[in-house]
C-alpha cells in the first residue's frame, strides 16, 4: 500500500513538474534566463529518477523497520526508514484511542491506530494493522486505559 501511495503521490508531482516546465517554455517571460529555459526539462527527469527509487525502496525499508507491540501496560512502536523513531507510551496515560481507515486502507483491509496522550509529543500511531486487529486492539486499549487511568495528565 505504501508503494501505491508513493507511486500516486510521485505521479501527481511529476505531472505538475512537467506541466510547470512546459508552461515555462511556452510562456517564456523575458526575465527568465535563457539557460534555465533550455534545461527546464531536467527537473522532471531528475525527480522521476528519485521517485522511482522512493517508490521501490522506501516502502520495503519502512516495512522492515516497522514494529509495534502492545503489552498490558505499555504501547511500543518503532517506525521510520531513514531516521527511526522508537516510542513508548504507558497505557495508563492514554487519553483517547482512535482507529481510522482511509479509502486506500479500506481497499487493502488495513487500518491505522492512533493513541493520544495529554502531550502532543507523546502520541503515537500504528499504521497498517489488519482492520479486525485494529478494532480489537483499540477496544482493549480503551478499556485498559480506563482501568488504569490515574489523575495525573
Amino acid at each position: 500500500m505504501w508503494t501505491l501511495q508513493a507511486a500516486i503521490g510521485s505521479a501527481v508531482l511529476l505531472a505538475l513538474l512537467c506541466a510547470g516546465a512546459w508552461g515555462l517554455r511556452a510562456v517564456s517571460w523575458e526575465w527568465v534566463p535563457d539557460w534555465l529555459l533550455r534545461n527546464a526539462w531536467w527537473l522532471p527527469v531528475l525527480y522521476a529518477a528519485y521517485a522511482a527509487v522512493r517508490t521501490v525502496v522506501v516502502p520495503r525499508w519502512r516495512y522492515r523497520v516497522h514494529r509495534w507491540e502492545v503489552t498490558a501496560d505499555v504501547v511500543y512502536t518503532r517506525v521510520g526508514w531513514f531516521s527511526r523513531q522508537w516510542q513508548l507510551v504507558p497505557v495508563s496515560r492514554i487519553q483517547t484511542v482512535d482507529h481510522r481507515q482511509g479509502w486506500m486502507e479500506r481497499l487493502f483491509g488495513v487500518a491505522t491506530l492512533e493513541v493520544q496522550t495529554a502531550s502532543h509529543a507523546g502520541s503515537s500511531t500504528i499504521e497498517g494493522l489488519g482492520a479486525a486487529d485494529a478494532q480489537r486492539i483499540s477496544e482493549e486499549l480503551a478499556e485498559r486505559a480506563a482501568e488504569l487511568r490515574d489523575d495525573a495528565t
Binding site: R62, D73, R84, L88, Q95, G109, A118, S119, T153
Partner: protein, 591 residues
C-alpha cells in the same frame, strides 16, 4: 458616552432559574441582588459557620452582570484598537467636508458604544454549585458553562484604564476534554468582585475536589475553607524583586530590541496614515504637488529616523530597563494555599495563579550574555496553560544562586548532576553550526565576488564557538525525584520535570546518528511544551537512563535482560526489534 444604564430588571429571568446543579434553588440565596454590590460579606460570613458551611459552599449565587463601568471601558478599548482609522477618517472628513467620512466615523463610534451597551446588557455570569455559567450575546446567544472542578486557575489583570476605574478583568482557565483549553473571561468587574470571585471559585473547586478524594464530607464540613481552599492567612511570600534586578534587562535581547519594535510600529502607523491620506486625495488636481510634498516628507522622515536610531542605540540599555521595569514592576512570587501566585507589572498589573498540583516542573532559561553574569530566569511547566511564554514566568532574570534558592523553596530544585553527551555529539553540533555557511561561502567563492564569500565565511567561523557551546550545554540527568535535560546555546533551556509527569519516551535516530551511536531522546510531558529533548545522547546510555527513571515502562522492551550490555547489537542498540513475552503481539505492514 454618558448613557444611563437601562432600567433595572429582575436579575433572574424565567429561563435562568433552573440551574445545572440540579438542586432546588435556595430561596434567599437566589433572590435578585444589586449587581454592583455583590453579597460578598454574607457569603463569607456564612461559609465558616458550622453545619451551614457545607450548604454555603454548595449553594448557587445569583447571576451577576459585569460592572456598569464596562459601558465606559469597552468602547474605549475598541476605540484604542481602531484609533488610527477613525482619527484619519475624522480629520480627512472635516478637512474636505466629506459627509460620508464623517458619518462613517460617527457610526463607528456609535457602534462601539452600542456594542458595549449590548454586551453589558446581555452578559451574565453565575457561580453555581458545580459550574460557572456565562451567558452572553443578543443575536448569537452563547452559554458557556465551566465545571468548577475543571478550573485550573483564575487570573486577574487590569490595565491603567481599568485601574483608574477600580475594575479588573478576570480570566478563568479551564481544561476542556481532549486537552483543549477553554476560557471564560469577565471583562470587567470591580476589583473587589474579582478578588471575591477568585476566592469563591477556588474554594468551591477545592470543596468539590476535596469531597471526591476524601469521602468524609462530615469531617470536611466544619472547615470548608481550611480543608484545601486558599485562605488569605495561608500565604507565604517567596520572592519580591529587589531594585537592582531591573538592571538585568540589559542582558535580555528581547528587551534591547523592544524600542525598535515600537519604532517600527510607529513608522507603520505613520506610513499607513500617509497612505490613507493620499488615497483620499487621489482625485485632486494637486496630486503632483502632494507627491512632491510626500517625497519631501519622506526624506525628512528618513533623516528623523536616522537620528532616532542613533539616539536609540545610545539609549537602548535605558529603554530596555524602562520597558522591562514596566512589565516586571514589583515582581512578587508567593504561595497562597496550594497555589503559586506571580504578580507583576506597573501599568497593567497581572496576577497569575498556578495551582501546585498542576505544576510538573520548571525551566531555567538563559542566554550567553546572561551566562557571563550567571543570571537565569525561572519558568514553570504547567498543564493546561496558554501563553506560557509570559504567564508561566515564576522569576525574572536574576542571579542563579538566588533563583535556585527560590525554586527550591517554591518547588523542588534539581539536585542531580547532568550527564555529558558523547564526543560524537560535539562533531554534530559543530557541523550543524558551521556547515551551512561554510558551504555557502565555498559556493560563493566560485560563483560570486570575493567579498560575498568572506561575508559568508564570517558566520561560519562564528559557528565554531557556537557549536562548542551548544555541545557543552547538552546534558541529561536524574536525581531520583526529578529528571532534567538541557540544550541550546543562544537560548539555553534546562527543563526539570517530576518523574511522575513523564508520560512516554521517544527516541529518534537518523542514519548519521546511527553510525555515531547517538539518538535524540524526547520525554513526553502533558504540560509545558509537551516534550523535552536530550539531543544527541548516546543511544544505549539513554535507554539505560530511561530504564532508570521508569523501569516498569522500559524494561519489557529491552533486547535482553541487561540493557547496557547490548551495545554490540547495532541494529536497535538496547530496544529490541523483535517481539517477546506472552501477551505481546506484533504486526507489520501490508505492502
Amino acid at each position: 458616552m454618558s448613557e444611563n444604564p437601562p432600567p433595572e430588571e429582575p436579575r433572574s429571568r424565567p429561563g435562568e432559574t433552573e440551574r445545572a446543579g440540579g438542586e432546588p434553588p435556595a430561596g434567599a440565596g437566589y433572590a435578585p441582588r444589586d449587581p454592583e454590590h455583590p453579597a460578598a460579606p454574607q457569603e463569607e460570613a456564612a461559609a465558616p459557620g458550622p453545619g451551614s458551611g457545607h450548604e454555603a459552599a454548595a449553594e448557587a449565587e445569583p447571576a451577576y452582570r459585569l460592572s456598569p463601568l464596562t459601558l465606559l471601558t469597552s468602547p474605549l478599548n475598541y476605540l484604542r484598537s481602531y484609533l488610527v482609522p477613525v482619527v484619519v477618517a475624522l480629520i480627512a472628513g472635516t478637512y474636505s467636508f466629506n459627509p460620508w467620512m464623517l458619518g462613517g466615523a460617527a457610526v463607528a463610534i456609535a457602534a462601539m458604544v452600542l456594542s458595549g451597551l449590548v454586551t453589558w446588557y446581555t452578559f451574565r455570569y453565575q457561580v453555581g454549585a458545580e459550574r460557572l455559567e456565562i451567558r452572553r450575546g443578543l443575536i448569537n446567544r452563547s452559554h458557556r458553562s465551566i465545571p468548577l472542578e475543571r478550573i485550573r486557575g483564575v487570573d486577574i489583570s487590569s490595565n491603567p484604564l481599568h485601574r483608574m476605574l477600580g475594575l479588573a478583568v478576570v480570566k478563568i482557565e479551564a481544561a476542556a476534554g481532549g486537552g483543549g483549553s477553554e476560557e471564560g473571561k469577565l471583562d470587567a468587574v470591580t476589583a473587589e468582585e474579582a478578588e471575591r470571585l477568585r476566592r469563591v471559585l477556588l474554594r468551591r473547586r477545592a470543596h468539590l475536589r476535596g469531597e471526591e478524594s476524601a469521602p468524609a464530607p462530615a469531617a470536611a464540613a466544619p472547615v470548608p475553607g481550611g480543608a484545601a481552599g486558599p485562605d488569605e492567612s495561608d500565604t507565604e511570600v517567596y520572592f519580591a524583586m529587589p531594585a537592582s534586578w531591573y538592571g538585568y534587562a540589559v542582558f535580555s535581547l528581547g528587551y534591547l530590541l523592544t524600542p525598535f519594535v515600537a519604532l517600527a510600529t510607529l513608522f507603520g502607523l505613520i506610513s499607513q496614515g500617509l497612505g490613507e491620506a493620499a488615497g483620499d486625495r487621489v482625485g485632486d488636481t494637486a496630486y503632483d504637488l502632494y507627491r512632491l510634498a510626500a517625497e519631501m516628507a519622506f526624506s525628512l522622515l528618513v533623516a528623523v529616523a536616522a537620528v532616532l536610531v542613533l539616539v536609540l542605540l545610545v539609549a537602548m540599555p535605558l529603554f530596555a530597563v524602562v520597558s522591562y521595569a514596566l512589565t516586571h514592576w514589583r515582581f512578587t512570587l508567593l504561595r497562597r494555599g496550594d497555589a503559586l501566585v506571580a504578580e507583576r507589572g506597573l501599568l497593567t498589573r497581572q496576577s497569575v495563579t498556578l495551582e501546585k498540583r498542576r505544576i510538573r516542573g520548571h525551566e531555567l532559561l538563559d542566554n550567553p550574555l546572561e551566562r557571563t553574569r550567571s543570571a537565569v530566569r525561572l519558568r514553570a511547566i504547567v498543564t493546561g496553560l496558554g501563553e506560557t511564554a509570559t504567564r508561566a514566568v515564576l522569576m525574572p532574570i536574576g542571579p542563579r544562586r538566588r533563583v535556585e534558592e527560590v525554586a527550591d523553596r517554591a518547588l523542588t530544585a534539581f539536585r542531580g548532576t547532568l550527564v555529558r553527551h558523547p564526543r560524537a555529539a560535539l562533531g554534530r553540533r559543530l557541523l550543524r553550526a558551521v556547515a551551512p555557511f561554510a558551504v555557502a561561502a565555498a559556493a560563493a567563492a566560485f560563483l560570486a565576488p570575493l567579498w560575498v564569500a568572506v561575508l559568508l565565511a564570517l558566520p561560519a567561523l562564528l559557528g565554531v564557538p557556537l557549536g562548542v557551546d551548544r555541545y557543552r550545554s547538552l546534558g541529561h540527568g536524574d536525581d531520583g525525584r526529578q529528571v532534567s535535560v538541557r540544550s541550546g546555546s543562544l537560548r539555553r533551556v534546562q527543563a526539570v520535570v517530576v518523574r511522575d509527569a513523564i508520560i512516554g519516551w521517544t527516541w529518534r535516530q537518523t542514519l548519521f546518528q546511527r553510525r555515531a551511536g547517538l539518538a535524540d531522546l524526547e520525554l513526553s510531558v502533558g504540560a509545558g511544551s509537551g516534550g523535552y529533548s536530550a539531543i544527541d545522547a548516546s543511544f544505549t546510555e539513554s535507554v539505560a537512563f530511561a530504564r532508570g527513571v521508569t523501569p516498569e515502562m522500559v524494561r519489557p522492551f529491552l533486547e535482553s535482560g541487561e540493557p547496557t550490555e547490548t551495545a554490540e547489537s547495532t541494529e536497535s542498540g538496547g530496544l529490541r526489534s523483535r517481539p517477546g513475552g506472552d501477551d505481546a503481539r506484533t504486526g507489520g505492514e501490508s505492502g
